[in-house]
């Protein structure tokens, strides 16, 4: 065989191989492999608790399984690189599939003028758009949390917006179940323009391109710190927060939990009878150099003495946690979903209907 013929043969082999790879990448078997792995990852992600500490997995699953979970990022499946890569490959597969089919779909459309012809193609396009728009929304959206008590105000990150919590109400029914959480907000921008509104669960307040979601609530206490009987510091602590005397940071008080209507069970555990402020008590802990020294329950205003220092938890008040989010491409998800639904309706209902009609009319 001459050198040229050999080169020609090698080129044909390479082209053949590339064609095979291309056909595989755009083909159904590849998409099924990807969907199979994605499904398996989804099962893992729903069975294994996500986003816990390494110690949690080691304790819960043992060292061997725990290490495997961490090594394969099964503790954060839906955000790990290989899951995102799988979604990317699925998009690639859908793009190739859509491109390779468009000619035949257009030809079929020109030949038959049956709208149902577009169904399958639009369905694939809808899925592709959905994944891309979801990713776009995830990467371009920004989210921040603010929490505070009525009357407080704080900036929203570096957005230039200032959020004032004007009011916070918990609407309760007679049986003390919660009907709604409602926060009154005033949002102002750098120009001094203000927008006022209410944010409740399912009904976010929208202002200056942001949506403000009523996310959570809890109890806060004011904390007064005394040294030798003299007030040296006042803080507002939400449940789970701590504070310390500025001149003695090794001594820490943590406000652990609040019981608006305190009661104690026979086994010694605490609970609240109603959510109303009838018999308020706070559970606190005193730490010295990170070690728990004492833990107890106090009434509002009751003095907790530790050597030269005194701590007073007082005036319990409810705080609200608001999530502020901006998502400039959220609408693309809706467009993609509409394309997908349209594609499915065309695939399953318009096309068969037209076929039936043609059959009834004796057409081919």
């Amino acid at each position: 065989m001459s050198e040229n013929a050999q080169k020609e043969k090698n080129k044909d082999n390479t082209n053949g191989m590339l064609k095979k790879i291309f056909n595989f990448l755009k083909g159904m078997p590849f998409s099924f492999i990807l969907l199979g792995i994605i499904s398996f990852a989804c099962i893992m992600g729903s069975v294994i608790p996500q986003g816990q500490s390494i110690a949690y997995y080691m304790d819960s699953y043992g060292a061997r399984k725990g290490n495997l979970i961490i090594a394969f990022s099964l503790d954060d499946v839906f955000r790990c690189w290989w899951f995102i890569a799988l979604a990317g490959l699925l998009c690639f597969n859908l793009i190739l599939c859509s491109i390779s089919r468009i000619k035949s779909v257009i030809a079929a459309w020109k030949r038959t003028r049956r709208i149902g012809i577009w169904g399958s193609w639009l369905t694939h396009l809808g899925i592709l758009f959905l994944i891309v728009s979801f990713a776009l929304s995830q990467y371009t959206s920004s989210e921040d949390e603010i929490y505070g008590i009525p009357g407080s105000s704080q900036p929203l990150g570096d957005t230039g917006l200032q959020i004032a919590i004007d009011s916070f109400d918990v609407w309760m029914r007679d049986d003390y179940t919660v009907d709604q959480y409602v926060a009154g907000l005033t949002v102002s921008n750098e120009k001094g323009e203000k927008q006022r509104g209410e944010s409740s669960v399912n009904y976010p307040f929208r202002a200056f391109g942001y949506s403000f979601y009523q996310n959570s609530m809890g109890w806060a206490n004011y904390l007064d710190i005394y040294k030798d009987g003299e007030l040296v510091k006042t803080d507002l602590l939400c449940a789970g927060e701590y504070s310390y005397p500025d001149d003695f940071p090794a001594l820490v008080i943590m406000f652990s939990k609040f019981y608006p209507d305190f009661a104690e069970k026979e086994d010694g555990s605490f609970y609240t009878v109603t959510p109303l402020l009838k018999k308020p008590r706070s559970l606190y802990g005193i730490f010295y150099n990170g070690n728990l020294m004492s833990m107890d329950i106090v009434k509002p205003g009751e003095l907790i003495s530790v050597h030269d220092y005194g701590f007073v938890l007082r005036d319990p008040v409810q705080y609200t946690l608001i999530v502020a989010k901006t998502d400039p491409y959220a609408w693309t998800v809706l467009v993609a979903a509409s394309v997908l639904i349209a594609g499915l309706v065309l695939s399953f209902y318009i096309r068969p209907w037209e076929e039936n009609r043609r059959k009834d009319n004796g057409e081919n």
Binding site: M28, S31, C42, S46, T177, P204
Partner: protein, 269 residues
């Protein structure tokens, strides 16, 4: 009112059981009266079931679609609705012998749940609840019918005589499975889309990888693969029937397993 709800629910439960028994009689003796009686009893049960759900809605002053009991009873209602339609549409009387037991099992599961009416938590107080859950009911109902037909398909080879005669040919069974899955798939997609819109309104994110969402996606993928193989590769017969059965097992897990075994945003226990 609570008494009316209770009586109509129990009537539906009994009717579905009697209907299943009559359908078994039908496939055993192949007498038309048995299938007609079974269908009528099933339809009567469906009416009574509808009354039970409507009355509960009136008592609760909201859509009764928010807890294990309410969704289980609505799930059974959805399968019955799809069953009544598919039986008439495809003239497959014996289908009841395969679907009625499923309906009875699901409403039986509902009867074991707490029927106490609770007030809605704020997260569920949304107009999207009705759209989202009703899409799920129709989707699950259609998948339930596909499962029943798949069982008929898988058992067809193993039974003889009159029972075999009551089951349509494989081509018809295959077509019903396809039609039921296609209907269910469309509504499952709508369920997921309306749920995503609702989630965005409530939490500011379309998708949160909550176990219910994740298992809905897994179910969606299984049926998507089924439809692909059916339409593009002409997958029919036993494989298609097994696929439809697998999909429904996934549906059941998404509904019962996820709510009871996995915690998440949907576990309103």
């Amino acid at each position: 009112m609570a008494r009316i709800e209770n009586i109509s629910f129990m009537t539906a439960l009994a009717a579905y059981l009697v209907s299943a028994a009559l359908y078994f009689v039908y496939i055993a003796v192949k007498k038309a009266w048995a299938s007609k009686a079974a269908y009528l009893v099933m339809a009567a049960g469906f009416l009574s079931h509808s009354v039970s759900i409507a009355v509960r809605g009136i008592i609760a002053q909201r859509l009764p679609l928010t807890n294990q009991y309410e969704f289980a009873t609505a799930f059974a209602w959805g399968i019955t609705l799809c069953f009544l339609f598919f039986v008439k549409r495809f003239k497959f009387d014996a289908l009841g012998a395969f679907v009625a037991p499923v309906i009875f099992l699901i409403i039986g599961y509902a009867s074991m749940q707490s029927r106490e009416i609770h007030n809605l938590m704020p997260a569920l107080k949304s107009n999207w609840l009705g759209f989202h859950v009703s899409m799920a009911i129709i989707a699950y109902g259609a998948f339930g019918v596909a499962f029943g037909v798949a069982m008929a398909f898988l058992l067809k080879d193993k039974v003889h005589g009159k029972i075999a005669e009551t089951i349509p040919d494989e081509k018809t069974l295959d077509l019903i499975i396809y039609r039921a899955v296609a209907l269910g798939f469309l509504f499952l997609t709508l369920c997921m889309v309306t749920g995503a819109i609702w989630a965005n309104n409530a939490w500011g994110s379309y998708w949160n990888w909550d176990p219910k969402e994740t298992w809905s996606l897994i179910t969606w993928i299984i049926y998507a693969v089924f439809l692909h193989l059916r339409i593009r590769k002409g997958m029919t017969g036993k494989k298609a029937a097994l696929f439809a059965a697998l999909g429904f097992i996934c549906v059941i897990f998404t509904y019962i397993g996820v709510n009871t075994l996995l915690s998440g945003l949907h576990s309103y226990k």
